[in-house]
């Protein structure tokens, strides 16, 4: 099938998708901008670490410095003129954007005509994409709660006193990698998938594929217990139950094992990453037990998302643990 540029243009030029197209450029730019300043500071740190005399006398910033200058300047005008300038620039940007692009307005709301695909606003598409991998109570309720709480505990579990108030990469490798994986890899990337890849019926369309509302995916999703052929038939005579009953119980019990294995393996992995270098070990020793448990729990839960994505998209496995009440 030929590459459908028109389809790409249609998605990218939908007025409400413009912010996410902008984010595609803005997010990498600021990532580069932050890391560039971080690397510049790292070079300075390397010099100071190697030269005790310089560490005492040198100005410890990459910014220009003259001993004659005052360390602090008047807010008015030096800071506030920048603020006013930025406010004017933002206003101009908004004006131009509003004059050139109209806010979308579809037909009047009609519960009888379903939009296909029916998409949430772009900033929630990461959560909607998560619906593919988890049941709604996890994707829509538990995960958002975990994200919010997880963000809020960051300052209380990050025991690394370095890098407070300046850009650095080397002094905070682990926390920066964790945040980048979470923010860029799991949040922004999921939004991009939800915007550009997911078409009618929330089916996967590669860029350049035409969004075909008639397409039917014959899903062969299986649960993990089906892969292993668990049906519990041998349990039935022992407990004097029907085969169906036995199968339900067998599956519910079987599902606990891969979950426990995941938690153990993930915990070992997280622990290995957290104590990989001499510096990490030092930080690790500063942490209280509560801090450690909290951090490991959130990291393991965070890891569960890419694992579930992998299982679903590559191995077409739907549930790991099937119980009569809920499935994971």
């Amino acid at each position: 099938m030929p590459f459908d540029w028109r389809q790409i243009w249609e998605i990218a030029s939908a007025p409400d998708n413009v912010p996410i197209v902008a984010l595609l450029f803005v997010a990498p730019f600021f990532m580069w901008y932050a890391l560039r300043q971080g690397i510049a500071n790292d070079k300075l740190i390397a010099i100071l670490e190697g030269d005790a005399q310089a560490a005492k006398t040198k100005y410890r910033k990459t910014q220009e410095w003259d001993p004659k200058w005052e360390r602090e300047v008047h807010t008015w005008p030096y800071l506030m003129r920048m603020e006013f300038l930025v406010a004017i620039l933002v206003t101009v940007l908004l004006m131009v954007w509003s004059l050139t692009l109209n806010a979308p307005l579809e037909e009047p709301a009609n519960p009888n005509v379903t939009m296909n695909p029916a998409k949430a606003p772009w900033y929630f598409l990461g959560l909607q994409e998560m619906l593919v991998y988890f049941d709604p109570w996890i994707a829509g309720v538990v995960m958002p709660t975990l994200i919010i709480v997880g963000l809020m505990v960051i300052p209380y579990i990050d025991s690394n006193p370095l890098g407070n108030g300046y850009y650095t990469y080397k002094q905070r490798r682990f926390s920066i990698w964790t945040f980048l994986v979470g923010f860029i890899g799991l949040w922004v990337l999921m939004i991009v998938i939800g915007t550009f890849i997911r078409g009618p019926g929330w089916m996967w369309f590669w860029p350049g594929q035409t969004w075909d509302a008639e397409r039917v995916d014959y899903a062969v999703n299986r649960n993990l217990d089906q892969v292993f052929g668990i049906d519990g038939s041998w349990l039935a005579p022992i407990f004097h139950t029907t085969k169906d009953q036995a199968a339900i119980w067998a599956r519910a019990i079987f599902g606990i094992f891969p979950l426990v294995i995941f938690f153990i393996v993930a915990a070992i992995l997280v622990h290995w990453v957290c104590t990989r270098t001499e510096f990490s070990k030092k930080i690790y020793k500063r942490m209280s037990l509560l801090q450690l448990v909290t951090m490991y729990t959130f990291l393991i839960l965070m890891l569960s998302l890419p694992i579930k994505i992998l299982l679903r998209l590559v191995f077409t496995i739907k549930y790991i643990w099937v119980t009569p009440w809920f499935s994971i």
Binding site: M31, L48, Q63, T75, L94, G163, R172
Partner: protein
């Protein structure tokens, strides 16, 4: 006196006198007018100016500080800031841009409210009216929409910057938490506004969004433990959000009130706390001098943090 009155000469004298004084008056008036005109060129020297701004306008350090400190809008700032923090490259201005966009959104939002009825009969027509008949109505709606999207991006980038500079570390831990809540509130503000045009886009987006609430554990009728808690489509958490079991008139009214009154009020309170804490925690975090690994001190717990309000030398 009467004789003098009869005298023609003295009459001319009076006339002359009057002429003289008129001329003098003209001169002094022009003088005064000129003087006041020159004064107008420097309105900042007038008492009117002082009565409004409370300080003399002089290029003196003291007055520069006072003009910030004695102005209700400016005094969010300290009088003096870290020299390197005035450059763009450290903060990217994202927090300020977010706040500015909040103001823009409040302004355009209030104007939009003049033309909008949150009822099923009127809502969609009001948007059509706004787009086609209200002067600059289309521009107004566009600005509100794009400012909202821009604000979300600005909030995310602000959080990203704060993380990358480690600015959430001691003593700013709590302010980071306030910031996380503000980010969530920003997204909720945008989401509740989505339904208000009452078109297909908003209707289905909100349908998809609130359908997830059905699955809330214990509180949703389709969530684990929900039915056991007695949850039905008519009493669960989704019902509370929508004011009904479907996205309809009540949902529109609830979205409107959350969007225009409740959440902005909550945001305003959290914003106040957020800004106040920025100042109390010692102003913005940097650019701070780099710290070396060899300088890490042994952890003493609990360590009191004594703060110096920023700008106090």
């Amino acid at each position: 006196m009467p004789e003098e009155n009869g005298d023609g000469k003295s009459k001319t004298g009076v006339l002359e006198k009057a002429k003289d004084s008129a001329a003098a008056l003209r001169e002094t008036l022009t003088e005064k007018a000129k003087q006041q005109a020159t004064e107008l060129k420097e309105p900042e020297k007038t008492q009117l100016y002082r009565s409004i701004f409370r300080v003399k306008h002089d290029e003196e350090p003291r007055n520069r500080a006072l003009s910030v400190l004695s102005n209700v809008f400016f005094h969010l700032h300290p009088a003096k800031v870290n020299r390197d923090a005035t450059k763009y490259n450290f903060t990217w201005g994202m927090g300020g841009i977010t706040f500015y966009l909040f103001i823009v959104l409040t302004f355009t939002g209030v104007l939009l409210m003049f033309y909008y009825h949150p009822s099923k009969v009127q809502a969609f027509r009001d948007i059509l009216y706004l787009e086609n008949d209200v002067p600059f109505g289309k521009l107004l709606r566009n600005m509100h929409r794009w400012a909202a999207h821009l604000m979300i991006i600005a909030v995310w980038l602000h959080m990203f910057r704060v993380f990358m500079t480690g600015s959430y570390k001691r003593p700013r831990e709590f302010n980071w938490c306030v910031g996380v809540l503000l980010m969530v509130l920003t997204m909720l503000l945008s989401f509740t506004g989505y339904l208000l045009p009452d078109d297909q886009l908003g209707f289905w987006a909100v349908t998809v969004g609130t359908n997830m609430a059905r699955a809330t554990p214990l509180l949703g009728n389709e969530g684990p433990g929900g039915p056991q808690m007695g949850m039905t489509p008519y009493n669960d958490v989704r019902f509370a959000l929508l004011g009904g079991s479907i996205v309809d008139a009540n949902a529109l009214l609830r979205a409107y009130i959350w969007h225009c009154i409740a959440i902005p009020l909550i945001v305003a309170i959290f914003l106040g706390v957020h800004f106040w804490r920025v100042r109390k925690d010692g102003g913005i975090s940097g650019p701070a001098p780099v710290m070396l690994e060899s300088e890490i001190k042994e952890e003493r717990s609990p360590r009191p943090v004594i703060l110096r309000p920023s700008g106090m030398g």
